[in-house]
């Protein structure tokens, strides 16, 4: 048997083979382990290509002076600041758009737009930036080297860089110095079957209901029905990124 691994051979450690198999994982060769199933005998399903998660934000309902979604996001993901606005991590931020000719002001929240063709993924030299099969654009921090090309590439300025060493991170979002990060569309909730992001929950609680999260691939989901019946826009639609986050009344 060819063995490039530094692990001991199966012959020498046969007792491990027995115990690994008993534990629900199969040892094929030294260092190669197939995960068969979870301990409770039910295979964990994971993300599915049958869904594409997205968001619809109603600019008319986004209330002046409200930052409930930002606080909820910070709380959910343990985003603690150092009182340095230039470098503190921001995953969702309120933005004001003013039409200089008419003076009309729009308020909306800006975050990772979860593009179908994400520029951040195109430029990433280590494949740390990736799009999950269900359309969520994420950073794999195990691979991120902190080069910040993705931050340059993102037309929405959606990503942050962690500049300082952190402790006591949230289990929802392990994060640390030297990695780029952005809105994860609350993947930990999606994976747990909770179909509501922290920002939507907070916005609903405030009574504004400006944020609607849902499955863009499911024609019966609320978000799909609203998108079908009303005129929504993508920001910088000219880039043809097909964003997962869309806006109403913009």
């Amino acid at each position: 048997m060819s063995n490039k691994s530094d692990q001991p051979s199966v012959d020498r450690r046969q007792f491990i083979g027995g115990t690994v198999a008993a534990a629900g994982a199969l040892t094929l060769a030294p260092g190669v382990i197939l995960h068969a199933a979870s301990e409770k005998g039910k295979a964990p399903s994971g993300a599915s290509g049958n869904h594409r998660w997205g968001m619809l934000i109603d600019a008319n309902k986004c209330a002046e002076g409200c930052s409930a979604c930002v606080e909820a996001c910070n709380n959910e993901h343990g985003l603690t600041g150092f009182d340095r606005p230039a470098t503190d991590a921001v995953w969702i931020r309120p933005v004001k758009l003013k039409d200089k000719q008419t003076g009309h002001v729009n308020r909306l929240v800006m975050m990772c737009q979860h593009c179908e063709h994400p520029p951040c993924v195109d430029v990433c030299p280590t494949n740390a930036s990736f799009k999950r099969i269900d359309g969520v654009v994420l950073v794999d921090r195990h691979r991120c080297i902190g080069c910040r090309y993705c931050m340059m590439a993102c037309p929405y300025k959606a990503r942050s860089f962690v500049h300082e060493a952190l402790t006591d991170q949230s289990v929802n979002a392990p994060r640390g110095k030297g990695c780029v990060e952005s809105c994860t569309l609350c993947v930990h909730r999606i994976d747990a079957g909770v179909m509501q992001t922290a920002c939507q929950e907070a916005c609903d609680k405030e009574g504004h209901s400006a944020i609607l999260f849902g499955d863009l691939k499911d024609p019966n989901s609320e978000i799909s029905r609203v998108l079908k019946s009303r005129n929504s826009v993508q920001i910088r639609a000219d880039l043809e990124l097909n964003t997962g986050v869309r806006y109403l009344n913009l």
Partner: protein, 156 residues
């Protein structure tokens, strides 16, 4: 002849004297800390020998499955290692698994390994429960979430 025999014996005694405490330390006390949940349990999620030899591979497989494919509730989970193995001080506060003599640090310090896990992952159990509280497990259906399900999405 006689003198060399004595020196050999002395050397062996000296070596044994040095090795025994080290072996005891690594062999018995260091992998479970007192006042941790683990100390009250019979075994880990797999036999101790296996975990000690292969925990890094188990965690590496799990991390890629979880981050890239969104598969949660795997058998091996770093947050659960910490939930179970972090000890508590006299005031009931959780002690970081990377502080001197604690679960992770004790062995990694001994073998001079610096894992990068804790640059990002927290080193104490989360106040409101760890991985369990996120409903990561296949028995997540028993959790009651006070939220709406969008139409068309069936929780299975």
């Amino acid at each position: 002849m006689r003198s060399s025999l004595i020196s050999k014996r002395l050397l062996i005694i000296l070596l044994a004297g040095l090795l025994l405490p080290a072996m005891q330390a690594i062999g018995e006390s260091r992998y479970v800390t007192k006042n941790s949940k683990a100390a009250s349990l019979d075994s880990c999620v797999a036999p101790t020998d296996e975990i000690r030899r292969n925990h890094m591979d188990f965690l590496q497989h799990s991390r890629d499955d979880t981050v890239i494919d969104g598969i949660r509730g795997l058998k091996y989970s770093l947050s659960e290692c910490i939930d179970c193995h972090a000890s508590r001080d006299s005031s009931g506060q959780a002690v970081s698994v990377t502080s001197e003599g604690e679960f992770c640090q004790a062995c990694h310090g001994y073998v001079a390994v610096s894992p990068a896990c804790f640059q990002c992952h927290r080193t104490t159990p989360a106040e409101s429960g760890g991985g369990d509280s996120l409903g990561y497990h296949s028995d997540a259906q028993t959790h009651v979430w006070d939220v709406q399900q969008p139409a068309g999405r069936q929780r299975d």
